[in-house]
Symmetry: C2
Subunit: 453 residues, 2 copies
């Protein structure tokens, strides 16, 4: 998108705020300004200048800066922000990122005029948190010290709150992120622009969207349909019900169409639609780490019985099948481990450790009747230990065309095995139902690839 | 149930195992024996005797004990276990709790004979973990130092693995538990017996079941239908799909009927059916802490826009409605907080703290148009702090007939607010969709109460 690479890869950034102004109702405050300065100073590896329009921090005007920044971050009440954007536009700043909200229709129109007149690109207003690029440390959020780890998932959120929640989730679970963007009111830079940027971005492997409305429907569908040939796109739609859609209109000034239309649009675009934020990131992790699921025959390999039965239920409910393990595979497993009955779901029995998991999983993934696997390895009531977990990741790597997801079911057990495996290519889920849904997303993406080829 | 109070409230317990025997495939091992001894010694406030049948720990035979225990916990391979149960039965032990599995049909039949002949009650075999009673510290699990906090939720699991997962979850999230039972093969003590016990148990307010099959269908329904007049029962059914049901048959030797039959049975019994383990505990916490939902009009009170729209979607999808806030309530809120538009979902704006939450929530819960509320209080992108959270709990207590659920959406944010509120009466969820489902469970239980009255 023209000029807009500077949104994620600026050389110099000016932070334009005020150490004095505190809006009565609204986001502008000296604390917010301080926090954005804190994060940019701490994380960003380019130039950062501070521009304090009514106060004494750093510079007073854009003209005083040693050189013109390509990105400005504006966090002021609407009237003052507009003055700043106009001045930045005249000075050939490439992108204005507007964090604060409360803009009236006329003010939003004025911003669009400035873009048309001067070519300045605008993200927002009302983006709340702006952008994050884990590659160069760009972080315009006002949540001090909040930075997700580097990775391959990029997230575009129309809502500050949903974006903040997704950011919080990626930090808490150490999910690797490439780029974040909070879109806000979308007067200029929108989903289509950001999708085009992420399509070219080498570090982005999976794109997650939170949307309340889409303006340029046809362009959005065409752009997405091209991108999904190489990178899966996942979408969560807010305002899916009539009642919530009414509210979404006033929330981000977007025209939310009927949900059926969105469903059709997502299908046409090859976008995988999800039901909530957890499912969005669960599916994203699976798509970032594992290959698409080419068939529908899933093997369940577990050291406990009940959760394996719940997994089997979830597999069937998601339109997948329980693989029929071939006679050869079955004989090999049962001869080696008397007591284990290698009928799917395969119960390895509670005393299974790394060796048994590796052997059985290797045999199962070599079986032509099996397209993918759901592994359950609980600690409680079993002999499995977190140090047994890496053997599973090693076995999975030997079968690069068959996806595997892993379920150390529970709370503490999940946390312990998650710590041992989160930096490997194994996606981890705390319940079998979530793992089955992730496998379904891997299958849906495979079907998409066949369709858009 | 006759004799069987001793299952949860024994005066003396004998732990019968071996410090030498290690089954090749199976659970019996000196480590397991040691771990159960460790837990009982650490937690149980009655008498505990150790009976080491092939080794040198404690006593050698039941007859050597200073007095006859009312409960014995047996953790030996099938043949040896049978000998022990027979001897216990002759010695008038009241209950035998059998942890280990691997029993053949004939062996299970023999256990039943012993019960009929001597009146000994049997839980198991194959219960894996046995029972927990947080009131007297009885804990026959072999997970060292694992003990959930005291509370009002009781759990009965037919599967050791599912039970272990639920136990792990209650410990990790510090969810208050009254009693745990792992049923296993159910040769004698079954769901009906345990339900009857829990019906009389003063500390149990909510009962959670994990089932793969039910033998005494009519008795189960009749018993449950009586209990739900005072205590809600929640059920998760494993083997709900045909494919998984086939496996469940071999897993716990239970005859799993068609899922439609179970659905009808649960409805007739007034049992709330749930879809997974997380939903089971989410609903249980709501029912243990909040009153039933008497209408279907829900107010959403939030400091972020997008998650409130997702909450509105989830409310409508769960068959509930977005309450129409009355004109009076709306005027009171909007006059006090210019900028806040008190249309449901109510966006308190990102700078809302304890005072604004309390005032608005109090007005909303006083509104006759509102039957319950879903509160969202994020930290990230907002000014809300964990120390603002107790004010929400205080406000909710003023309106004891209207249920409220709270969503500090995300990972870190959830953990921080959870720490501040988990010991109050506010149920907490990390996503709006989970909170909406919990409200639905509160409404379903209200409908049940009307029906079984």
């Amino acid at each position: 998108m023209q000029n807009a690479n500077s949104l994620y890869e600026p050389e110099g950034v000016a932070l334009i705020g005020s150490s004095k102004i505190h809006e009565k109702v609204g986001m502008t405050s000296p604390e917010m300004f301080e926090s954005v300065i804190h994060n940019m100073t701490k994380f960003f590896r380019g130039e950062t200048w501070i521009l304090d329009v009514e106060g004494k921090k750093g510079y007073k005007t854009l003209e005083e800066l040693p050189s013109t920044p390509d990105l400005v971050v504006i966090m002021l009440p609407p009237r003052l922000s507009l003055e700043q954007v106009e001045n930045c536009a005249r000075n050939r700043v490439k992108v204005a990122l507007m964090l604060t909200g409360g803009y009236k229709t006329g003010q939003r129109r004025r911003l669009l005029q400035l873009k048309k007149e001067y070519g300045i690109r605008i993200l927002g207003p009302n983006t709340i948190m702006g952008v994050i690029n884990t590659a160069n440390g760009l972080n315009t959020t006002f949540e001090r010290d909040v930075m997700p780890p580097k990775g391959h998932i990029s997230i575009i959120s129309q809502s500050g709150g949903v974006g903040a929640c997704l950011l919080d989730w990626t930090c808490h679970y150490r999910i690797g992120v490439a780029k974040f963007a909070f879109m806000g009111d979308k007067v200029d830079i929108d989903d289509v622009d950001l999708l085009r940027y992420l399509a070219e971005d080498a570090s982005t492997r999976v794109i997650c969207l939170y949307l309340e409305g889409i303006e340029k429907g046809r362009e959005f569908i065409e752009t997405a349909r091209k991108i999904v040939k190489t990178k899966p796109i996942l979408a969560l739609k807010g305002g899916a019900t009539k009642e919530a859609a009414r509210r979404a209109r006033s929330h981000t000034a977007s025209i939310a169409g009927s949900d059926t239309i969105f469903d059709a649009a997502f299908k046409k675009a090859g976008i995988v639609r999800v039901g909530d934020m957890e499912e969005l990131l669960d599916a994203a992790v699976a798509l970032a780490k594992q290959p698409p699921l080419q068939g529908d025959n899933i093997a369940v390999v577990s050291n406990v019985g009940g959760p394996a039965i719940l997994a089997a239920d979830a597999i069937v409910r998601n339109g997948l099948k329980l693989a029929i393990i071939s006679g050869k595979t079955r004989r090999e497993i049962e001869q080696r481990y008397p007591g284990v009955e290698a009928i799917n779901p395969i119960d390895l029995i509670a005393d299974a450790r790394a060796e048994r998991y590796s052997y059985v999983l290797d045999k199962v993934l070599s079986d032509p009747n099996v397209d993918g696997a759901l592994v359950i390895n609980m600690l409680k009531s079993c002999y499995f230990k977190p140090e047994d977990a890496p053997a599973i990741a090693e076995t999975v790597e030997k079968h690069p065309t068959k996806p595997v997801v892993d379920v150390p079911a529970g709370g503490e057990d999940f946390a312990l095995v998650y710590d041992a495996l989160r930096d490997t290519n194994i996606p981890l889920y705390n319940l079998p139902e979530k793992a089955a849904r992730a496998l379904k997303a891997l299958q849906t993406y495979h079907a998409t690839l066949q369709k858009v080829k």
